[in-house]
């Protein structure tokens, strides 16, 4: 096995035992990254020089044995909507081409403090709006399992770089499923933490009340290690929760005997892809065999999640993206007067999906419509959350498929935006309710594409999620399967 094919916990042991240095590791990883990048296109920006400098620093720490964490010296990918000081941060948009933030996102600061290495900024759907990474202004990222298929989105590049071993793990963001869906499509683990668990300071906002940053990793243990590094209260983020962060690896390896699992009947609709249904059911049986108890539950308002989300998220986005006006940074297209400058800049800077959502959101907030749309969606939000609260009075975690289908081909869902929106049907209610949820691999389709299983937890109970996920993962070998980067 190549160095870069290992997991974080495996390579951390090697680094600690001085079997390999961070510089050697980073060089090897970078060489592989560049070798497969023409096929996969995970990265908008590769930071080779800076990575090697970070690796040299990490080696000093590793040599002294002081201040060493499991991430010290380990190469990671960072989604290109997280601000990285002095390094281009584009949100995969023309609007921020060349934009170099003068500060780091809090999560980036924490990874730096842990001694992690950043190999580059990963590709995504423009401004995090999408489920296939096809709307990126820069390039299309390919699914390492089948290069004519999408990696999912919006954290497509973050998923593909981990799946293709271009980095040991990455950070993605999830507003309606943007970590979990690409994780499922690329056969890796992706966790969206509880809203408020991880600081949003430095995350370029899409929908403020729904966005969360989370780890995308090769296995569950790596996910716990990443969470240990990034979770926790941040005084710079007023919505970050002042709740103590446990060591997520502590509970992880314990037995799940007696764990109560809820299966929501609304998440197995008519006409579901039979392979997905089959894989999910098998996974549930597997969990049962490990000692879990399975209960049927109902989340009656979940059919309204998509509608509520497509009012709430675009509304907040229409406000969050208003600052891109050509005045202070980013793209500016000059005009005869200020209004012309605004219109030309925004017309040129944003892609069609972003424009679509800004218009939707502007409409939903406008005078005369606010009550019928935004306010109504806020009320539905509360009902959806209540469903989960009631369910969690009876069960410890909820298990569902992550997505209705495995990876689809490029261009398959771009004609009608609604077909793309339906990708998020199982993931979206979780963001609305602010709950933690992860996806991990639970099968491979007949066409050699990964199938993902979603686990949903109680607020701030990532530990139980990781425990259930770990138990399932270790009793199967899905996490050991690697893609072959083949063309269809």
């Amino acid at each position: 096995m190549e160095l870069y094919q290992k997991t974080i916990h495996e390579i951390a042991a090697d680094l600690k035992a001085k079997k390999v240095s961070s510089v050697e590791l980073t060089k090897a990883t970078m060489a592989h990254l560049k070798a497969v990048e023409p096929k996969v296109q995970s990265f908008i920006t590769v930071t080779e020089e800076a990575a090697l400098a970070q690796a040299a620093e990490a080696d000093k720490r590793l040599a002294s044995g002081n201040d060493v964490t499991p991430l010290t010296g380990v190469p990671l990918g960072i989604k290109d909507l997280l601000c990285t000081k002095g390094v281009q941060t584009t949100c995969a948009s023309k609007m921020l081409e060349g934009f170099k933030p003068p500060y780091n996102a809090t999560v980036v600061e924490r990874l730096n403090a842990a001694g992690a290495i950043m190999v580059g900024k990963t590709n995504m759907d423009e401004f995090a709006m999408g489920s296939s990474t096809e709307s990126s202004y820069y390039q299309k990222t390919k699914n390492p399992w089948n290069l004519s298929c999408v990696p999912g989105g919006s954290s497509g590049g973050s998923a593909s770089c981990v799946s293709a071993d271009q980095a040991f793990a990455s950070l993605g963001s999830d507003t309606g499923g943007s970590i979990r869906q690409p994780a499922a499509l690329c056969g890796i683990v992706g966790l969206k933490p509880t809203y408020g668990r991880v600081s949003r300071y430095g995350l370029i906002a899409f929908a403020s009340s729904l966005d969360q940053i989370g780890p995308m990793t090769k296995d569950v243990e790596d996910c716990a290690l990443m969470m240990n590094a990034i979770a926790g209260h941040d005084p710079k983020d007023s919505t970050s929760a002042d709740v103590a962060v446990p060591d997520y690896t502590t509970e992880m390896k314990k037995s799940i005997k007696g764990l109560k699992i809820g299966i929501p009947k609304e998440f197995f609709p008519e006409g579901m892809n039979p392979e997905v249904t089959e894989a999910t059911k098998k996974a549930i049986e597997q969990l049962k065999s490990l000692g879990a108890e399975v209960h049927e539950i109902s989340l009656p308002h979940s059919p309204y999640s998509l509608a509520a989300y497509y009012v709430l998220a675009p509304s907040e986005a229409s406000s969050n993206l208003a600052r891109y006006d050509g005045v202070r940074y980013g793209l500016r297209v000059p005009g005869e007067n200020i209004v012309e400058m605004y219109s030309k800049t925004r017309a040129a800077g944003f892609g069609p999906e972003v424009k679509r959502r800004i218009m939707l959101g502007t409409y939903a907030l406008s005078s005369g419509y606010y009550d019928a749309y935004y306010l109504k969606a806020l009320k539905v939000r509360r009902l959806i959350k209540q469903d989960y609260d009631q369910a969690f009075a009876k069960v410890d975690i909820i298990v569902t498929p992550t997505v209705p289908n495995p990876a689809f081909k490029f261009g398959e869902k771009t004609d009608n935006p609604l077909t793309m929106y339906l990708e998020d049907i199982f993931t979206i209610s979780i963001n609305i309710a602010g709950l933690p949820a992860l996806s991990l691999p639970c099968g491979i389709s007949k066409t050699d594409l990964p199938i993902g299983l979603q686990m949903i937890g109680k607020p701030f109970d990532e530990a139980t999620l990781l425990k259930a996920a770990y138990a399932y993962e270790q009793s199967t070998d899905w996490h050991k399967r690697k893609p072959t980067l083949k063309e269809s």
Binding site: P101, A105, I204, S208, S319, V327, R328, Y342
Partner: protein, 486 residues
């Protein structure tokens, strides 16, 4: 329809910059007047990915404003986004308060020639300030003649409290009185510098008129760009006349924003720059709601100093001052405090007040001195008051002594003694002087006896001259009269 048949209906919106050390959502300083864009950071510049963190002191100051205006303080309030595009607004939204303001339902009492009147305060809410634009390259510094504009974000993010009055104001005088009273209160509770020139106090006026005796509101216009209380008064007066003229022609007043033009002394329509403003308000998702517990709210109320209105009433009662005099002395807290120390050491607070408002105020203005620059204390001024009350010196002499007191800090009793100024009140001495003057001015005596009573002033003056101003003028007057009438 005559102008007098219309009744003006005025509401005032005052924006007050809070003098917190740092901005509302970040740690940048709020100091005025520094080089452009030197008091900015990613948060107040609205750089992508940044988030606001609420300044607790700003909430405290805002609640104090609410208390001082007799408002109800909301135990649950929240911030909202007010969305619009303008280059001085970095996020393209202003974080403000929409439907759940921190303070609501208060009032402010004003004193005018007509007496006391209560003006309602609809709300006083917290919000962030925008940056400042400089329109360069043109002649007038205004947008329409400029070649380009420069944006300075030093001011962006400074906490503001917007105080909105009910449309209870009925004249430009009342508007002026409201602003003066409000400024006084804000200075007393020390939440703002209230400096209109620096922009830490701004005022917009909503003006409409209606036929006297009717209830329905007329169409209102919003007047902006008034940089002093004097201009507010002038602008309101102009606008009332303008609207009356419009209605008299049978036309309708257009609802619009108008600018006060200081060079032409008119309000002018801003119509060309007006857009329909739909601010698409929604609750700010990056901030948590403001929930205040009763103990905290009460504590802030207890921390307030005695406010100008209460102090004025107390001065009237305790020191026998008129409402007007009490008003002048309580307009500024330091002055009121200075007076009150004096009032306790003098036997005649009213007399003491008169010296303060008269000669002392005049000298302070002429010599550009403030209270802290004074060379004397209240005890010395009280000494002067006592000397006058005891008729040791007359009022003309007292003015002379006062100048010594003001310019040198000299003790009045000392001055009188050194200069031998003690008033002559010995009847025998005065009679002698009077006899001499009457003898020297027989024609005047004849005039007086012939009915010209006014010439007595001339005779008094002569006696005062002869006595080097030391004679007791009251006594002189009495003795002359007695002698002439006999």
């Amino acid at each position: 329809m005559a102008f007098e048949d219309y009744e003006p209906v005025i509401g005032l919106e005052v924006h007050c910059e809070l003098k917190t050390a740092t901005k509302l959502f970040c740690g940048c300083p709020t100091t005025f007047g520094n080089e452009a864009n030197t008091q900015v950071c990613p948060v107040c510049l609205g750089l992508p990915g940044t988030l606001p963190v609420m300044n607790g002191k700003a909430v405290e100051f805002a609640v104090k404003i609410g208390h001082s205006l007799n408002c109800s303080i909301a135990d649950y309030s929240k911030m909202d986004r007010k969305n619009y595009y303008y280059p001085d607004l970095p996020k393209a939204y202003q974080v403000s308060q929409y439907d759940k303001p921190l303070n609501y339902g208060g009032h402010l009492d004003i004193v005018t020639k007509e007496g006391t009147k209560r003006i309602g305060v609809t709300r006083a809410h917290l919000e962030e300030d925008a940056g400042k634009l400089v329109h360069a390259g043109g002649k007038s510094g205004r947008l329409d003649s400029s070649d380009y504009s420069l944006a300075d974000y030093n001011r962006g993010g400074i906490p503001l409290v917007e105080i909105v009055s009910e449309p209870d104001i009925r004249s430009s005088e009342e508007a002026h009185a409201y602003l003066t009273a409000l400024k006084s209160i804000l200075l007393y509770i020390d939440v703002s510098d209230c400096n209109m020139e620096e922009g830490s106090l701004r005022c917009d006026a909503n003006v409409s008129i209606r036929k006297k005796g009717t209830e329905k509101f007329g169409t209102r216009t919003e007047i902006k760009n008034m940089n002093s209380f004097k201009f507010v008064k002038q602008a309101i007066e102009y606008e009332i006349k303008r609207q009356a003229a419009v209605l008299d022609k049978g036309e309708r007043v257009i609802q619009e924003s108008r600018l006060w033009d200081v060079t032409e002394n008119k309000t002018k329509s801003m119509r060309s720059k007006e857009e329909a403003h739909d601010y698409r308000y929604f609750p700010e998702p990056d901030l948590v709601p403001i929930i205040l517990d009763k103990a905290y709210v009460q504590k802030l109320k207890a921390e307030l100093p005695e406010l100008p209105g209460a102090k004025r009433t107390r001065f009237e009662k305790d020191y026998g001052l008129t409402a007007y005099d009490a008003g002048v002395l309580t307009a500024e807290q330091e002055l009121a405090q200075w007076f009150e120390v004096g009032a306790k050491v003098t036997k005649n607070p009213k007399g003491f007040a008169n010296w303060m408002m008269g000669d002392m105020a005049a000298q302070m203005k002429e010599q550009e001195k403030e209270l802290k620059d004074l060379k004397f204390d209240q005890k010395k001024l009280a000494e002067l008051v006592d000397l006058v009350d005891a008729e040791t010196i007359n009022s003309k002499q007292a003015k002379e002594v006062f100048l010594e007191l003001f310019n040198e800090g000299a003790s009045p009793a000392e001055v009188v003694k050194t200069k031998g100024m003690a008033q002559v009140s010995d009847p025998k001495a005065i009679e002698a002087a009077v006899d001499k003057v009457l003898a020297e001015n027989p024609n005047v005596v004849v005039d007086y006896k012939g009915g010209k009573q006014g010439v007595i002033g001339f005779l008094v003056g002569k006696v005062m001259q002869a006595s080097q101003g030391k004679a007791n003028p009251k006594m002189v007057n009495e003795i002359i009269k007695k002698k002439l009438d006999s």
